[in-house]
Symmetry: C2
Subunit: 412 residues, 2 copies
């Protein structure tokens, strides 16, 4: 499969292409193999060229964007020319466009009639949210799918209409069994060392390993040929053993989701106090549906006065050890636990830069505090030479992972 994103705006850096990653993760999870991604300008010849090239390599081509009503929108023409078919006026589509505007009490702009012309013989993909119909055409037993650019329209059409069509008419040839193993808090080198024996054992099988560093996490992707399921399951067992408690989850599992599961299973509530991570831990946690079951809330204590007033950090602690110290982190954790009536308190304090820092705690230094009914602990992290946003996200992930490791031991 190849994906061709059209749209000059995607080549200007002003707009992020979120659609291609969405399509990639979807079709991969259904078992299709992607061989190339392209982003091209809104230009008839260029889109046509990209489609014709893709037809020489792929069985299935998805084109996004360029289905609007303006003269810039040339995907319909590009497909028609690529498969050497004329455009055909489709009265049923034109009626739908008119009723779309009518329902909204607006006149149909004349230019929208362009959207009623599809390549001859095309299947129209209905669009519940807009006027741009999608297109499915077959050509020499290859399939070209075109969908409009607006992400909400595309997602809905892709999942509701295109997905069942593809799976029925063009089922993927599952060639690989795949599993993603996720760890946090250890680097790629440690992962490799941990997996040394597994890798040696896998040498004479079809197994392939990839290592993907992902902002404080490492994702290890195992791929085994689909006709070796027992190799796959044996390797999976061995990888799980080798990674032990460093493995926080697999495939779609996330670190905040895992922390939530653990809290739920032991019926503990959590309160979070954030200084340098500035709300990011709370944001990660609240991205998980149902997190209100175990998350009481949190306090972002940017100012020292807030650390004192809201979290009960002692002025002497701040004066003697500074705000970026193990003592402050532990007092913050204990303080937020008490203030919010939570079973567990998690806290961060550090210097995210670019300015600031102290001789003993330069920019990149972060302390994590953890307070539980039994004890209060800390962990020191150091991320030298990284930017503010990277430091925030590495520290937030590390804090969640520290909590996860603690909860596993509590549970175990």
């Amino acid at each position: 499969m190849e994906i061709i994103a059209t749209g000059s705006e995607l080549l200007k850096g002003a707009v992020e292409n979120t659609t291609t990653p969405f399509l990639v993760s979807q079709v991969m999870s259904w078992g299709y193999e992607i061989i190339r991604l392209n982003t091209v300008r809104d230009n008839l010849e260029e889109i046509k060229g990209a489609i014709c090239d893709a037809l020489t390599r792929a069985e299935l081509i998805i084109v996004t964007g360029g289905l609007g009503p303006t003269p810039d929108d040339v995907t319909r023409d590009a497909i028609a020319e690529s498969i050497q078919m004329p455009l055909e006026f489709r009265s049923e589509i034109w009626e739908e466009i008119q009723s779309f505007f009518k329902k909204r009490g607006r006149e149909t702009p004349p230019s929208n009639i362009n959207q009623a012309y599809l390549p001859y013989g095309a299947l129209a993909v209905p669009n519940a949210l807009g006027t741009a119909a999608g297109i499915i055409v077959t050509h020499n037993s290859k399939i070209i799918v075109a969908l409009p650019g607006p992400p909400e329209e595309l997602r809905q059409m892709f999942l509701n209409e295109v997905k069942p069509f593809l799976l029925r008419n063009f089922p993927p040839q599952i060639t690989y069994l795949t599993r993603c193993f996720k760890v946090c808090g250890i680097g790629e080198t440690v992962v490799l060392q941990r997996l040394k024996d597994v890798l040696a054992e896998a040498r004479n099988t079809s197994a392939k390993f990839s290592y993907l560093p992902r902002g404080g996490e490492v994702h290890i992707v195992l791929q085994v040929a689909a006709d070796e399921p027992q190799v796959f399951s044996e390797l999976e067992t061995k990888i799980r053993l080798a990674l032990g408690e460093d493995l926080y989850g697999i495939d779609e599992e996330t670190l905040p989701g895992k922390v939530g599961e653990l809290l739920r299973s032991i019926n503990f509530t959590l309160g979070v106090a954030e200084s340098c991570t500035g709300g990011l831990i709370l944001n990660y946690l609240t991205n998980i549906p149902g997190s209100s079951d175990y998350l009481r809330g949190g306090i972002v204590a940017y100012h020292n006065e807030i650390k004192e007033r809201q979290l009960g950090v002692k002025p002497e602690t701040l004066a003697e050890f500074s705000e970026v110290s193990s003592n402050t982190a532990m007092e913050m954790a204990a303080g937020v636990r008490r203030a919010l009536g939570a079973d567990i308190g998690l806290a961060t304090t550090g210097f995210a830069g670019p300015a600031g820092g102290l001789p003993d705690a330069p920019v990149g230094t972060v302390y994590v505090g953890l307070s539980t009914p039994r004890e209060t602990l800390f962990s020191k992290l150091f991320y030298p030479g990284l930017g503010r946003i990277t430091i925030k996200s590495m520290a937030a992930k590390a804090a969640l992972d520290l909590l996860r490791r603690y909860l596993i031991r509590l549970e175990g």
Copy 2:
């Protein structure tokens, strides 16, 4: 210019390609025009094919990834074959690789010798962070640049080495003057209406407009041919007038950055109370360097008990109007202002879903409260049919924009 990202992992959805967007925004800002982006597998023929295709269209080609020491790393070979040059052993690079390992007290793995072979006549781009040298070759007065995949190595080499080389030897032909106008809280349709007269006036110029919806914001990009600078500046003035206070910023400016500027200029401090946005507003604000100057901190009040205890929301208010109501939002805003000793309190409360909601406040309902020394206000938002994470980010942006509009009036 074309960019070719190599790496099978990029086509598996498991790893996000952050490098291409980085390169796009960099080279665009220097004035280069990008005509196509490609992502291809780690396969000699495919990379070679992509380079040869790109050579038919572009003057300048950047290839990322595939410069490691393993047999999968074939970018060096692909370039050599594309320009029909042999690979050449470069003893000075081999020495650098050996000294890289020596400094770290490790033996040089024999396979790293592959990294010392570059296409004949290539310029080597030094890599301070790793063993993969970059490559610059010229071919029929076109330029091919290859850089290693790891983002930190690539960034550093691209900015320190490749940038000066390109700007000196291959200066961009500036063909457009570009400005991005950013608004929040009004949709594309309203923007178009607001700009109707400007658009009509621009009809006979080279001006091009694009509208990019960006999670609750709309970015309006104006492009004018470089030889019409007076058209550009007249249009800019007219767009600014037409958008008025809806315009929060231009180009690289961000909404939380703008809020920070305004707070700083009137010497006000801010406290934030978040329920449904769960820390995201605080995260946005603390992404701005120096935000500790005006941000006192915040309270994420997920539980009603926290709303009462930490923010002083009255139990009667929660009982009578529910936690998702204008009254609760205003009491939260006033409460966080008081609790954190800030000049201004900003609060959100709502249902981000997927579960929950009340008959009067279904999922997608969000109230924003704003409390200042003079008054306490609220705003009601509704995002039906959207997912949890989208609702959080739309509401967080809307809350920041409400605050921005208030601050502008205070200042004005």
